[in-house]
C-alpha cells in the first residue's frame, strides 16, 4: 500500500522529481519550493487553526490515497453528456484525474486567437502567461495549496488576448479520481485587457461513496477593463475529501462575476478569494449550496479591497438537511488605500431537518475610513405559514417544502444568463432537493477514512 501512495514518502518525491524534470525550470523551482513548504506544515487542525475551527480533518490520511489512473469511460461519457446538455456550444476541456487532457469544440475560439490547451503544455509554450496566471496563488502559505503547487499535473489553461471577446464559453470538466485515489484538478485563466470570457468548471464523479481525495486550484487573472463570468459546479461523489482554492485577481475597471453551485463531496473546504487590485474593479459572487446526508461543506470567502472605488458583493445561500453541516466564513478586508470601497456579504441558511447545522463567521476588517461595508447573515427554516398556504391549495407537504427550497435558490440560479445552463442547474438542484438517496457505499477496497463524519 504505502509504495503506491501520494504525498507521503518516496512515491511523492519520485512523482515530484518526474514533474520537475518534465517541466520548465521556473515551474520546477516553484514545485520544489511548494513541496518544501508543504512538508514543513502540519495538517490543519480544528483546535489550532482558526480557518479550520469548524472543519475537522484529523481523520484524513493523505498516505492512504494512491495516484489516480485514467478516468473510466462511463465517467468520461457522463461528463460529456453534462456539457452536451447544459452548454453544447462551449469549448470542452476534459481533465482526467491522471492529468490527461483533451480539448474539443475549440476551433472558433482558436480562430479568435484564444488559447485553450492543457496547462502543462502551456507552461512550456507560454511560460510568461502561465506565470502571470499562477502569480496570484502563493506556493507556501496554505497546506493544500502548497500540496497542489508541488504535485499538480494536467489541468486546463485558457488565455484570452487583449481586446478579444471569447465567442463561446469554455467548459472545463474535472473528473473525480477512482475510489481510494487522489487528483489535483487545475485551471489557470488569464484574460487580457478589454477582453471577456465565460468559464464553466464542472467537477463530477461516479455516484458511489468510496473515499477519494481531490486537491484543486483555480487561478484567474483578469486584466484592466476585462470581464469574466465564472461558473463553478461541484458535484463530486459523496465520499470525496475536497480541498479547493479559487482565486481571482482583478485589475482596474475589470468585472468578475461568479455564479456557483456546490452540491457534492463528503467534506469540502473551499476558499473563494477575490482580490480587487485595480481601481474600480467589481466582483459579484453568488452561490448556492445544498447539503444532505452527512455532508460537511465549508466555504471560506475573501473579498480583499486593495484599490480605490472597488466594489464587491457576495450572496451565499445554503440549504442543509439530514445531518449535513454548512460552515461559512467570509472576510471583507479593506486596505488603507482602498478609499470608497464598497463591500457586502450576505449568507442565508435554510435548515430543513433536525440534525442539520449551519455555522458562520462573516468577518469585516476595515483599515480605510471612507468606505461602505456590511454583512448580513441569517438562519431560518421553512415557514409553517408558507407550507400551510401551499398545502391549503392542494400541494402535498413534501412538495410544498421542495417548492420553497427551489424558490430559495431561484434568485441566484435565475441570474445565469444562458438558458440551457440555467435549466440544467435547476434540474441538478431539483434532484438534490428531492433527496434521491445517494448510491450505497461500495465495499471499501481501501481503508481510507471516509470524510463527512461530525468528528464524534
Amino acid at each position: 500500500m504505502t509504495d503506491v501512495t501520494v504525498a507521503e514518502g518516496a512515491i511523492a518525491r519520485r512523482r515530484l522529481g518526474t514533474l520537475v524534470d518534465g517541466g520548465p525550470a521556473w515551474l520546477g523551482d516553484r514545485r520544489t519550493a511548494a513541496w518544501d513548504a508543504f512538508t514543513a506544515l502540519p495538517l490543519p487542525s480544528s483546535s489550532r487553526d482558526e480557518d479550520w475551527r469548524r472543519t475537522d480533518i484529523s481523520k484524513l490520511r493523505l498516505g492512504d490515497f494512491a495516484p489516480a489512473g485514467p478516468a473510466a469511460e462511463a465517467l468520461v461519457a457522463a461528463a460529456r453528456a453534462r456539457h452536451a446538455r447544459a452548454l453544447p456550444q462551449a469549448a470542452l476541456v476534459l481533465c482526467g484525474p491522471d492529468g490527461a487532457v483533451s480539448v474539443d469544440h475549440a476551433d472558433s475560439l482558436l480562430a479568435q486567437g484564444v488559447i485553450v490547451c492543457p496547462l502543462q503544455e502551456a507552461a512550456l509554450r507560454h511560460p510568461e502567461v502561465v506565470r502571470r496566471g499562477l502569480s496570484a496563488v502563493g506556493v507556501d502559505g496554505a497546506y493544500f495549496a502548497a500540496l497542489w503547487n508541488a504535485l499538480w499535473a494536467g489541468g486546463a489553461f485558457v488565455y484570452v488576448p487583449r481586446g478579444v471577446e471569447a465567442m463561446t464559453p469554455v467548459w472545463v470538466s474535472h473528473l473525480a479520481p477512482e475510489a481510494g485515489a487522489v487528483s489535483f484538478p487545475s485551471t489557470v485563466v488569464v484574460v487580457d485587457e478589454r477582453a471577456s470570457l465565460t468559464l464553466v468548471e464542472d467537477r463530477v464523479g461516479p455516484g458511489d461513496a468510496a473515499p477519494r481525495l481531490s486537491v484543486g486550484v483555480t487561478a484567474l487573472r483578469v486584466a484592466d477593463q476585462s470581464r469574466v463570468d465564472d461558473i463553478p459546479v461541484q458535484q463530486l461523489p459523496p465520499g470525496t475529501w475536497h480541498f479547493a482554492t479559487r482565486r481571482a485577481a482583478l485589475a482596474a475597471g475589470s468585472r468578475y462575476r461568479l455564479l456557483g453551485a456546490t452540491l457534492g463531496a463528503g467534506l469540502e473546504k473551499a476558499y473563494w478569494d477575490v482580490l480587487l487590485e485595480g481601481a474600480g474593479a467589481e466582483a459579484d459572487v453568488l452561490a448556492v449550496c445544498h447539503a444532505r446526508g452527512r455532508q460537511h461543506l465549508d466555504l471560506q470567502s475573501l473579498q480583499l479591497h486593495r484599490a480605490r472605488d472597488t466594489r464587491s458583493n457576495l450572496l451565499y445561500k445554503v440549504a442543509a438537511r439530514d445531518l449535513a453541516r454548512s460552515v461559512y466564513s467570509g472576510l471583507i478586508d479593506v486596505e488603507r488605500d482602498a478609499v470608497h470601497a464598497d463591500g457586502y456579504v450576505l449568507n442565508r441558511n435554510l435548515l430543513l431537518s433536525r440534525g442539520a447545522v449551519a455555522s458562520g463567521v462573516p468577518r469585516l476588517e476595515i483599515k480605510a475610513n471612507d468606505v461602505r461595508c456590511g454583512h448580513g447573515n441569517s438562519v431560518g427554516h421553512v415557514d409553517d405559514e408558507e407550507r400551510f398556504y401551499l398545502m391549503a391549495r392542494g400541494v402535498p407537504a413534501e412538495e410544498a417544502e421542495r417548492l420553497i427550497v427551489t424558490g430559495f435558490f431561484a434568485d441566484v440560479i435565475d441570474r445565469v444568463s444562458q438558458e440551457s445552463l440555467r435549466e440544467w442547474l435547476t434540474a441538478l438542484l431539483a434532484v438534490e432537493i428531492a433527496g434521491a438517496p445517494a448510491a450505497e457505499p461500495e465495499a471499501a477496497t481501501e481503508d481510507a477514512a471516509e470524510p463527512g463524519g461530525r468528528g464524534s
Binding site: 435548515l351 455555522s359 469585516l364 456590511g374 441569517s378 431560518g380
Partner: protein
C-alpha cells in the same frame, strides 16, 4: 454641550493619583506564596485557599490567548496582585481616610449616592473601602456587600454559586482572577423583591503597576429585579496596570437582572474581563456595556439562556481613541426552547484607534423556536482608524430565526455638510453625529450616567475632524 466640553481640560480628567497610603501589599509577581498570603490575610476558609491554588495552576499552565488583541506587553512578574489600602471598610464616608475620600469626591460618588442610588460600593486598589445599602432594602433581605464579606457572612449561598458560572479553568484571565480575587460585589436579591433604584459599584485603581481582580457574584431569586451599575477609572501612569475581573450572574426563573458598565480606565490599563450570566425559565438578563477607556479591552459579556422562555439583551458601545484597542462583543448561548436574544453594538474608532466586535451566537439542538438578532455598526473617524467585525454563529436547530447585520462606514460628508449649512461647525457636527450614533446605548442609561457619558464622548472627540 460640546462647546462647553472643549473648554475643559484636554486630558483624561481622572488621571490624577494619590500618595500611596496602603497598609499591606504582597510582593510583586505571582506565586503560590502570594496567593496563600492573600488568602491568609483575608482569613479565608480552607476551601477557598484550595480553590485559589488550583486556579493559579490553571493560570500558569494556560498559554496567552493570541486570537485577539496584542497582550504581549503584559509583564505578570511586574505587577502587585494585592494592595490593601485601609484597615477597615467604612460604612459612612467619614470613616474613609481623607485622601481616598477626596478621590471619590472628585469622582462624584458620594453625591451620586445621595441623589439616586440604593447602595454604593467603592473599591480602591484591592479592597472595598466604603460600602452602604439603604436600610429599607437591607430589611427586605437584599444583600449588597463586597465579595469577601459575602463569603464571610453568607458562606453557604456564596459557596453554592461561586465559580459555577465561570469555572476557574474557563480562560487564562478568569483563572488569574480566581487565584488572586479581592473585593468586587456580592449581591443577593430574595424572591420577588424588586430593587427599583440602581446599586452601584465604583472601581478605582490608585497604585502603579497594580493588578485589580475584583470578583462579582449576583444572585437574583425568582421574580426579583435588580439593576447593578459599575464604573471605573485609574490614574495615568507610564507603567501598565492590569484589570482582570470576573462577574457571575444567576437569574433564577422570572428574575430580571440589568448590569450596566461604564468603563473609563486610563489608557495604560489592560482590561481583560470575563462576564457571564445564566438565565433560567422566563428570566431576563441585560448587559449594558460601555467601553471608553483602557489601553486594550477584551470583554465579551455572555448570556447562557438555560431555561425556557429566557431572554437576553446585550447593548454595547465602544470608543477607541489613539492607541486604544477595544476588542469587545457578546455571546448568547441558546440552550432551551422559546429563548430570545438581541444584540446591538455600536463602535467608533478615532485616530489610530481600533475597535473589534467579536460575538458568538450558538443555538443548541434542543432549543426550538429560538429568535436572535445581532446588529453591529461601526463608524471610522480618521484615515488611520480601523474596525473589525468577527461574528461567529453556530445554529444546530432548524427551528430558529436568526439574523445578523453589520455595517462599517465613515461619518457621512453629506451629514456634516447638512449640519454645517445650518451654521454648526464641523467639529460640533461630528460630535452631534457621534452622539446620535451612540443614542441606542445612551438612552438605556440612568439620566446622570447618560449626561456623564455624553460629556466623556465630547471630550474624547476633541480635535477630531470627520
Amino acid at each position: 454641550m460640546t462647546v462647553q466640553a472643549r473648554e475643559l481640560t484636554k486630558d483624561y480628567r481622572y488621571g490624577f493619583h494619590d500618595e500611596d497610603v496602603s497598609v499591606f501589599r504582597t510582593e510583586k509577581g505571582i506565586s503560590p506564596e502570594v496567593v496563600a498570603a492573600i488568602s491568609q490575610h483575608k482569613g479565608e476558609p480552607e476551601w477557598m485557599l484550595r480553590f485559589r491554588l488550583k486556579a493559579l495552576d490553571h493560570f500558569l499552565r494556560r498559554p496567552m490567548p493570541t486570537w485577539g488583541a496584542d497582550l504581549s506587553g503584559i509583564d505578570f512578574a511586574n505587577i502587585y496582585y494585592y494592595i490593601k489600602p485601609v484597615e477597615e471598610q467604612g460604612r459612612s464616608w467619614d470613616d474613609v481616610p481623607e485622601s481616598i475620600r477626596l478621590t471619590f469626591d472628585r469622582l462624584g460618588i458620594p453625591e451620586a449616592e445621595r441623589k439616586f442610588l440604593a447602595g454604593v460600593s467603592a473599591q480602591y486598589d484591592s479592597e472595598v473601602v466604603y460600602h452602604n445599602i439603604r436600610a429599607d432594602l437591607a430589611k427586605l433581605g437584599v444583600v449588597f456587600s463586597d465579595c469577601d464579606t459575602g463569603l464571610r457572612e453568607h458562606e453557604e449561598i456564596f459557596r453554592r454559586y461561586f465559580g459555577t458560572v465561570i469555572p476557574p479553568n474557563d480562560n487564562k484571565f478568569a483563572a488569574l482572577n480566581s487565584a488572586v480575587w479581592s473585593g468586587g460585589s456580592f449581591v443577593y436579591v430574595p424572591r420577588g423583591v424588586r430593587v427599583e433604584i440602581p446599586l452601584q459599584a465604583y472601581f478605582r485603581i490608585n497604585s502603579d503597576n497594580m493588578g485589580q481582580f475584583e470578583r462579582t457574584l449576583i444572585i437574583a431569586e425568582e421574580g426579583s429585579y435588580v439593576h447593578y451599575i459599575e464604573g471605573c477609572t485609574a490614574p495615568t501612569y507610564s507603567n501598565d496596570s492590569l484589570h482582570a475581573a470576573v462577574v457571575e450572574i444567576i437569574a433564577q426563573p422570572g428574575a430580571h437582572v440589568r448590569y450596566t458598565t461604564i468603563q473609563n480606565w486610563s489608557d495604560n490599563v489592560y482590561n481583560l474581563v470575563t462576564k457571564r450570566a445564566i438565565a433560567k425559565e422566563g428570566a431576563t438578563v441585560e448587559w449594558i456595556d460601555g467601553n471608553l477607556g483602557s489601553k486594550i479591552t477584551m470583554k465579551y459579556p455572555s448570556i447562557y439562556l438555560m431555561g425556557e422562555g429566557a431572554h437576553g439583551e446585550i447593548l454595547s458601545a465602544a470608543f477607541a481613541g489613539d492607541g486604544q484597542h477595544q476588542d469587545a462583543g457578546s455571546k448568547c448561548i441558546h440552550a432551551a426552547p422559546n429563548t430570545t436574544s438581541n444584540v446591538v453594538s455600536r463602535s467608533i474608532s478615532k485616530g489610530r484607534g481600533r475597535t473589534s466586535y467579536r460575538g458568538h451566537i450558538k443555538v443548541l439542538p434542543r432549543a426550538t423556536n429560538v429568535q436572535c438578532h445581532v446588529r453591529c455598526d461601526a463608524l471610522l473617524l480618521d484615515e488611520e482608524s480601523r474596525s473589525d467585525t468577527y461574528p461567529y454563529m453556530d445554529i444546530e436547530n432548524p427551528d430558529v430565526t436568526f439574523g445578523h447585520e453589520a455595517t462599517v462606514s465613515k461619518v457621512g460628508e453629506d451629514q456634516i455638510f447638512y449640519l454645517q449649512s445650518r451654521g454648526i461647525e464641523e467639529q460640533d457636527a461630528t460630535a452631534l453625529i457621534v452622539n446620535g450614533f451612540f443614542e441606542p446605548f445612551v438612552k438605556e442609561l440612568p439620566m446622570e450616567y447618560a449626561v456623564e457619558l455624553n460629556r466623556l464622548l465630547a471630550l474624547s472627540m476633541e480635535g477630531s475632524v470627520g
